[in-house]
């Protein structure tokens, strides 16, 4: 059963239709002891059928721990968003820890669109201020299911 209504699927298809770059969702999962990994996989699986520019790569936290760590991820479920730019795969440095359901699904879609080449919706002033960051900085936004 599809998790997204056909009306929403159509809207997403239109939004994703404007993507200019291929996007790969690196899904970090764990076979045992992860109650929400399956649900996360099911949510992510809804996206590739809506755009030929979206693909999923599964990374096992235990078997491919180094690969997960390269994205700064040490737990599951988690999603790192990468995109292809001039034939090079690039890390967007946007990650989701936990199930991207409810409002987080909308955030995930927004992140995919950004990685897919959509221009930033931030003001020029905000972009300038953020561009002044010259050392590694992390932002962790905590949310709860809605």
């Amino acid at each position: 059963m599809a998790l997204i209504s056909s009306a929403d699927q159509q809207k997403l298809r239109e939004s994703f239709g404007e993507m200019t770059r291929p996007v790969r969702l690196v899904f970090v999962t764990q076979t045992l002891g992860c109650e929400t990994c399956l649900q996360t996989r099911q949510i992510l699986d809804e996206l590739p059928p809506l755009s030929d520019k979206i693909a999923i790569e599964e990374v096992n936290l235990i078997l491919d721990g180094d690969k997960a760590k390269a994205y700064g991820i040490d737990r599951a479920p988690a999603v790192a968003i990468t995109y292809q730019d001039d034939s090079q795969w690039t890390d967007s440095r946007i990650r989701f820890l936990g199930t991207p359901a409810g409002y987080e699904f909308i955030s995930l879609v927004q992140a995919v669109l950004l990685a897919g080449g959509r221009t930033s919706q931030l003001s020029e002033d905000s972009q300038k201020r953020l561009a002044a960051v010259d050392r590694p900085l992390t932002m962790q936004v905590f949310t709860t299911p809605t």
Partner: protein
């Protein structure tokens, strides 16, 4: 925001699935944003207007750059 600087990494964290992280950063309400640079931390509670959020998130870490 991660797209605005190659130095910024952004995590959306589902607090109920990772209570250890919620405890470590003392998350008692959402949204709560924790900005970390080296050993310094800034906390932003609630949802702010974009300009206020950016100011709180990176203001402390970029003052020198703006003065220069």
């Amino acid at each position: 925001m991660a797209f605005a600087s190659p130095h910024i990494t952004a995590y959306a964290v589902e607090a109920t699935e990772f209570p250890d992280l919620a405890r470590r950063y003392m998350v008692s309400g959402v949204p709560k944003t924790v900005v970390t640079m080296v050993n310094e931390e800034v906390e932003i509670l609630g949802a702010l207007a974009e300009s206020a959020f950016v100011e709180q998130a990176v203001g402390k870490f970029t003052i020198q750059n703006i003065q220069n």
